[in-house]
Amino acid sequence: MTKKSLDHVLKEYIDGIKSIYPKADYLFSNDTLFIVVPKEKLRDVTEFIHNKMDCYLRTCLGSDERPLLGHFALYHIFGDDRNGLNIVVKTYLDPKKPVAPTIMDIVPAADWCEMEARDLLGIEFEGRKQYRLVLPVGWPDNLHPLRKDVPYNIRPRPSAVGERITPPKTATATIPVGPYHPALHEPEYFELYVEGETVVDVKYRGFHVHRGIEKLGESRMNYQQVNFLAERICGICGFVHSTCYAQAVEKAAKIDVPERAKFIRSIVLEIERIHSHLLWIGVAAHLLGYDTGFMHAWRIREHIMVLAEFLTGSRKTYGINLVGGVRRDINEDKKKQAIEVLDKVEKDYMEYLKALLAVPEVKKRATETGILPKEDARKLSVVGPTARGSGLDRDVRRDVPYAAYNYVDFNVPVYDSGDNLARLLVRADEVIESIKIIRQLLDQLPKGPIMAEDFEIPENRAAVSLAEAPRGEDIHYIITGDGRPYRWKVRAPTYQNIPALKVMLKGAPLADAPLTIASIDPCFSCTDRIYVINETSARKIVRIGIGLCPG
């Protein structure tokens, strides 16, 4: 994209917004257009950006800026991937009684993030049904943990928690069905309403893993410590989160990261992707009752885990990202070993894949199940392999290159059928692409330092950063503060994909539900949100706790 066309696009946005609100303030920094509008004009501006300019909502967030400006602020972040642009719309809200207009009827995807802002900051949204989303049951109504006057370690009524045990609706008696059921792994759960063996409705219950990460990053920690916190948002795709965070700060502070550090980041990111996809393929095989497939996928994956440990010092949560660069270098010896491991893994993996797809049950049960048509996929704006399995060709690594991805050449596998098999094949192909990418990166690894020298992070700068996690695009938004982020917001890919499950599951056999749920590779540690639908006439309730960041 040339400079001229960017200017042109920007002018289009600014003119459009000026025509709605002539006094709108705007600022263009990095790849992000920041606009301030009053709350009365918010809905019109949203409509313009979302409907006229065909952007999609990345996320929205509230922020307590009373100590700075005497107001609450509400940010809506929109994305324009065709031009690689982010548009941040800021609205000031009353410091005493923050009330904002909802945009949920214009942008359905704003449902969860509005409710999250309500829970965490006490911002009320007019014109929609409001409910508790994030905080546990029994949490005091007027206590909003993300407000700056609330300490991060406040623990109201810890003893009251025990009283919240609700007896199960059916005669399941003492069995803790629900969050900790069959396919282990993660405590979020789905209630599948079934008639006979057919799923008639789905209800997702979540937020068991809400750990107060954003508040922690804004209060107890400093810039460098947050890297380690971000990595622990998710234990499977954690490095994406820490990279995304580090990039956001680097963008906001305009820090020049050495090329070598960028390469190392990309290499580790791709290693993480291979591990994540192999893990998922193994679990998918297990869900189909094919344990041999599970074991061998994880056997091959073990080489990657050992390689990750050899390169970074830990099998998972690698802990090598810092704002400004990385902590561990890749020397010639490591490079050689990495290539050896990759060769072996590629060979074993190709063979394994043949074996897996030869099993009749795997093919039969993955084909034509859990179908997500392309139109639905586009409407719900799903991301990652879920989108690519439904024929949407989008990948942040290629569309908005970050780290060292603009130095490599790779394919983005896309399948059109939208069923579980398509999503399986997308991941299967991506493993091979990732191996290809790592080879290229190792080959071109530039010389130089791995850490930027002496930099300062100025206050009150903001940036949006994107990264392609194994499950889709990851978004971090940051406002810098004194020694630590003033506001830090994370949007994980699973957030975008979960609503698609309803489409995939309805009317499908119960036996396919675990695979279908797993097929979006949900990562609840990252997501932590709730999807609520109306309970319809269902005879039996089966609660299924599928975990999985796929696992």
Binding site: P136, V137, G138, W139, P145, V150, Y152, N153, I154, R155, P158, S159, V161, G162, R164, I165, T174, I175, P176, G178, P179, Y180, H181, P182, L184, H185, E186, P187, H208, V209, H210, R211, G212, I213, K215, L216, R220, L229, R232, I233, C234, G235, I236, G238, L279, G282, F294, M295, W298, R299, E302, S314, R315, K316, T317, C523, S525, G547, C549, G551
Partner: protein, 157 residues
């Protein structure tokens, strides 16, 4: 009674707010390179079948009641294995508003409610290596000895 359990340890895994890293390492401990099954470990799907609960994560308020219910469902003798730094000491979020800060806090709550547990094992690691889980199983089985001990050392000026 618990002698018999040493030969056959059925475990039920609860994620109580962990980041998944420990959880995938638990699964990894069952896979070919580590094969916990050779030590009699089996991952079961209901706490009613279990002998030991594998807890990962700092125990969020939202998951606490469910954890307590799961512990109650395990027939005695029952054990708890606190896996990973989050479960042992609350980890990086040991003092945030939405967690209780690890298994030691959970044990206090259990004690108040009169729920007995026959043994608790702490396995630090972030995440735990699969070998660390196998090591803990070895201690539970009595074939290994613990290596760590509280240390207080004086720095002599």
């Amino acid at each position: 009674m618990s002698e018999y359990i040493k030969k056959s340890i059925w475990v039920f895994h609860l994620n109580t707010g962990s980041c998944n890293a420990c959880d995938i390492e638990i699964l990894d401990a069952l896979t070919p390179y580590f094969d916990a099954e050779r030590l009699g470990v089996k991952l079961v799907v209901s706490p009613r079948h279990a002998d030991a609960l594998l807890l990962t994560g700092p125990i969020t308020y939202e998951s606490l009641p469910k954890v307590i219910r799961a512990i109650e469902a395990v027939p005695r003798p029952r054990f708890i294995l606190a896996l990973g730094s989050c479960a042992v000491g609350g980890g990086i979020w040991h003092d945030t508003y939405s967690t209780i800060g690890g298994v030691p806090e959970l044990l206090k709550i259990l004690k108040n409610r009169g729920i007995e547990v026959d043994g608790v094992y702490y396995v630090p690691g972030c995440p735990i290596r699969p070998e660390a889980l196998i090591y803990a199983v070895g201690i539970l089985k009595g074939i290994l000895q613990k290596k760590v001990k509280m240390r207080v050392r004086k720095a002599i000026a």
